[in-house]
C-alpha cells in the first residue's frame, strides 16, 4: 500500500517535473502517451484477453473522435457538453465493435486479423470521402475548431488559475487523461480477475474446450469486441477535444499496428505489460527525434534525415526487442509470482 501511494505521488508530480525540466512539449507528449495507454488497454481486452487479433482497432478511436468532432464543432453547429458526447462516442464505437465483430465470429487468427484490417481501412476511406455530395466528415481536410475539453466553465485546454497557482493546460490535460486511464485500468483489472475475464482467457486458450464448459463463446467474443471498442471510442473523444482537430490521417493502419505492438511488446493480457509497452513505444519515437543533435555531436553535421533515422531506429527496436524477448518485456514469470502472493 505504501508503495502504491508513493507511486501515485510520483505520477501526480511527474508533469510538473517535466514541465520545468524539459518543457511543455514533453508534457504534451506524455499526454498523448496516456491516450495511447488507454487505447492499448482497450485493445488488450480484445487481443490480450480474448485472443482475437484485431488489426483495425484504430477505427474505433476514429469513431469516437469523429463523434466528438461532429457534436461539438461548427461543422454542424452543434456544441453539446463533454459529459454527453464522450458517452455517445463511446457507445457508438462500442456498437461499431459489435457490428464489425458479429460477422467475423467464425473466423480465426490471421483471417480475423485481415478482416478487421479491412474494416479499419473501409472506415478510413469513408471518413476520407464522405464530404460529397453531403458533407459529413469534411473529407481529407478533416474537422477543425472542435470545442475544447471542458466541464462547465473549466476548460482543460486552457491554463487554470487557483489563487496563486497557475496550472498550465498540458498539465490539466495530463490529470484529466490520467483519471481516465486509472478508471480504465481499474475496470480492466477487475474484468481480468472476474468470471468474464476468465471466460475470455479460456476462449483465447482453447475455444472449443471453453464452449464445452458452458461458455457461450460467441457472446463473449462480441462482448470483448464491444468493450474494447468502447474504450477506443472514449479515448477517441478525448483525443478530438485535446487536439481541436481531427482528420482521417490520424487513423491509418500504421496506428492500429502501433497499438498492437504496444500491447504485444510489453506482454499482452497483463496490465503492467501493456503499460510498459505503450509508454515505451509512444515515447521512444519522440526521444528519437533528437537524432539530429546526436549526429551533430558524433559527426559534426546532420548526415541522415532525422525523421527517417528516427523511424529506422524505431523499426530496428521493434525487431530487436522481439528477437530478444518474444514473450514481451514483462515476462510471465512475474505474473505467476504475483499470483502466488495473492
Amino acid at each position: 500500500m505504501k508503495k502504491n501511494i508513493s507511486l501515485l505521488v510520483a505520477v501526480l508530480l511527474l508533469p510538473w517535473l517535466l514541465y520545468f525540466s524539459a518543457g511543455q512539449s514533453w508534457v504534451r507528449i506524455i499526454d498523448f502517451s496516456l491516450l495511447y495507454l488507454m487505447l492499448s488497454l482497450g485493445l488488450n481486452v480484445v487481443v490480450g484477453y480474448a485472443g482475437l487479433l484485431d488489426l483495425g482497432y484504430i477505427a474505433f478511436f476514429a469513431v469516437g473522435a469523429y463523434c466528438y468532432a461532429l457534436l461539438s464543432s461548427p461543422q454542424f453547429g452543434i456544441h453539446w457538453p463533454l459529459l454527453v458526447i464522450l458517452p455517445i462516442g463511446a457507445v457508438c464505437a462500442g456498437l461499431f465493435g459489435v457490428l464489425l465483430g458479429a460477422p467475423t465470429l467464425r473466423l480465426k487468427g490471421d483471417y480475423l486479423a485481415i478482416v478487421t484490417l479491412g474494416f479499419g481501412e473501409i472506415i478510413r476511406i469513408f471518413l476520407n470521402n464522405l464530404s460529397s455530395p453531403v458533407n459529413i466528415t469534411n473529407g481529407p481536410q478533416g474537422i477543425s475548431d472542435i470545442d475544447p475539453l471542458h466541464l462547465g466553465s473549466i476548460v482543460f485546454n486552457h491554463g487554470l488559475v487557483f489563487g496563486d497557482i497557475r496550472i498550465p493546460s498540458v498539465i490539466n490535460i495530463y490529470y484529466l487523461f490520467l483519471l481516465a486511464v486509472i478508471i480504465t485500468m481499474i475496470f480492466s483489472s477487475r474484468l481480468e480477475r472476474s468470471r468474464v475475464g476468465r471466460a475470455w482467457m479460456a476462449i483465447r486458450e482453447d475455444e472449443l474446450a471453453a464452449s464445452c464448459v458452458g461458455i457461450h463463446t460467441k457472446r463473449y467474443k462480441l462482448l470483448a469486441f464491444g468493450l474494447g471498442a468502447t474504450m477506443g471510442g472514449l479515448s477517441g473523444g478525448l483525443f478530438a477535444g485535446f487536439q481541436g482537430f481531427v482528420s482521417p490521417e490520424s487513423f491509418t493502419l500504421m496506428e492500429s499496428v502501433m497499438i498492437l505492438c504496444m500491447v504485444v511488446l510489453g506482454g499482452m493480457g497483463h496490465i503492467p505489460g501493456v503499460i510498459v509497452g505503450s509508454l515505451l513505444l509512444s515515447i521512444l519515437p519522440e526521444v528519437l527525434r533528437e537524432t539530429a543533435g546526436w549526429q551533430r555531436g558524433l559527426f559534426g553535421q546532420v548526415i541522415v534525415d532525422p525523421a527517417n533515422l528516427r523511424l529506422i531506429m524505431f523499426a530496428l527496436a521493434l525487431v530487436v526487442m522481439m528477437l530478444v524477448r518474444p514473450e514481451g518485456l514483462i515476462p510471465s514469470a512475474l505474473r505467476r509470482k504475483e499470483m502466488q502472493h495473492e
Binding site: A113, I114, N308, L316, V319
Partner: protein, 307 residues
C-alpha cells in the same frame, strides 16, 4: 458493354500483378503460417531498383529493352537476397516464439524497408518515363495495350513455372512436405530450414517482377507503394484460400477485376453518391463477404477442427 470489357481487361492486368505478389504471401503462409508483412515492401524495393537501374543504363546509352532486361535481373537478384536475409534474421529465430512475435518483427521490417528506401530514393514520386511500346489494339471499343498483354503473359508464364516447380521438382515436393508438417518433413530427411529459405527467395523473386510491372504500368514509383499493393495481394491470397497456389492466382485476378469493375460502375449504381475514390473499399468488401460466407477462401479446403 464496352466499358464492362474494358474494365475486365484493366482488371486482369492489375490482377495478374496482385496474383504474383499473392503467391509470395501464400507460399510463406502455407509453409510457416506467417503473414510476411514485409512482402509488399520487397515489391517496392524491386520496383525502385528496376526503375533506377534502367534509368541509369538508358542514360549510359543502352537500348530500352536491353536496359530493362538487365534492370529486371538486378532487381530480382537483389530481392532474392533481401528475402533470404529477412527470413534468416527476423523470422527464423522466432519460429517457436509466441505467434504474435513474428508478426511484430514483420511489421518492424516493413517499416525499416520503407524508411531505408525513403533515404535512398527520397519521398517524392519517381516517374518512369520510358515505354517499351505504345502499340495497342482496339476491338469494339475495348483497348488492349501491348504492355497489358506483356504483363498478363509474363505473369501467366511465371505462374506456370512456379506451378511446375512445386508439383514436379524435388524442391517442390520438399516444399509441399514441409507445408504438411515441418516435423515429419524433417524425419523424411528434408532440410526444412533450406526449404523455408528457398520459399522466401522464390516469393521475393516473384515480388520483384511484380514490382517492375507495377512501375511500368503506372509509370511511377514511391517508397510507400508496397503497402497498399501488399495489402491487396494478401487479400487476394486470403480470397483464394491462403496456402493454396491456385487460390492465390485466382484470388489475384478476381480481385483485380472486381476492383476495376467496382471503380468503373460505382458512380452509375449509386447515382453519383459514391465515386471511384471508393475503389479501395472493394478489395476489402469482397474479402469480408467471402470470409463470412466461405471462411477458408474460394479454393481453401473446409477443414473441421480435429477433436
Amino acid at each position: 458493354m464496352s466499358t464492362f470489357w474494358q474494365q475486365v481487361v484493366n482488371g486482369l492486368t492489375l490482377g495478374s500483378i496482385y496474383a504474383l505478389v499473392a503467391l509470395g504471401y501464400t507460399m510463406v503462409y502455407g509453409i510457416m503460417e506467417l503473414i510476411n508483412f514485409a512482402h509488399g515492401d520487397v515489391v517496392m524495393v524491386g520496383a525502385l531498383i528496376a526503375l533506377s537501374v534502367s534509368e541509369l543504363l538508358i542514360h549510359q546509352g543502352l537500348s530500352l529493352p536491353l536496359a530493362l532486361s538487365i534492370a529486371i535481373m538486378v532487381s530480382v537478384l537483389v530481392c532474392m537476397v533481401l528475402g533470404w536475409t529477412i527470413e534468416k534474421i527476423a523470422y527464423r529465430p522466432l519460429r517457436h516464439a509466441p505467434k504474435l512475435a513474428p508478426l511484430i518483427t514483420a511489421i518492424g521490417l516493413s517499416l525499416l524497408l520503407q524508411q531505408i528506401a525513403a533515404l535512398i530514393w527520397g519521398k517524392s514520386y519517381l516517374p518512369f518515363s520510358h515505354t517499351l511500346t505504345t502499340t495497342s489494339w482496339s476491338w469494339h471499343g475495348v483497348v488492349i495495350s501491348a504492355l497489358q498483354l506483356d504483363i498478363f503473359g509474363l505473369s501467366l508464364l511465371l505462374m506456370f513455372l512456379l506451378w511446375h516447380l512445386v508439383h514436379h521438382s524435388k524442391l517442390g515436393r520438399a516444399m509441399r512436405a514441409t507445408a504438411q508438417s515441418v516435423a515429419f518433413a524433417q524425419l523424411m530427411g528434408v532440410n526444412t530450414d533450406r526449404v523455408i529459405s528457398q520459399t522466401f527467395v522464390i516469393g521475393s523473386a516473384l515480388a520483384a517482377v511484380a514490382g517492375v510491372m507495377d512501375v511500368m504500368y503506372y509509370a511511377v514509383g514511391n517508397y510507400t507503394m508496397g503497402f497498399l499493393l501488399g495489402l491487396k495481394a494478401f487479400t487476394a491470397a486470403v480470397l483464394g484460400g491462403i496456402g493454396n497456389l491456385k487460390g492465390a492466382m485466382l484470388g489475384g485476378l478476381l480481385l483485380g477485376v472486381v476492383e476495376a469493375l467496382g471503380a468503373g460502375y460505382i458512380g452509375d449504381i449509386t447515382h453519383g453518391f459514391f465515386g471511384s475514390n471508393y475503389k479501395d473499399v472493394f478489395a476489402f468488401l469482397v474479402l469480408i463477404l467471402v470470409l463470412i460466407f466461405k471462411p477458408n477462401g474460394l479454393l481453401g479446403s473446409n477443414t473441421q477442427e480435429k477433436v
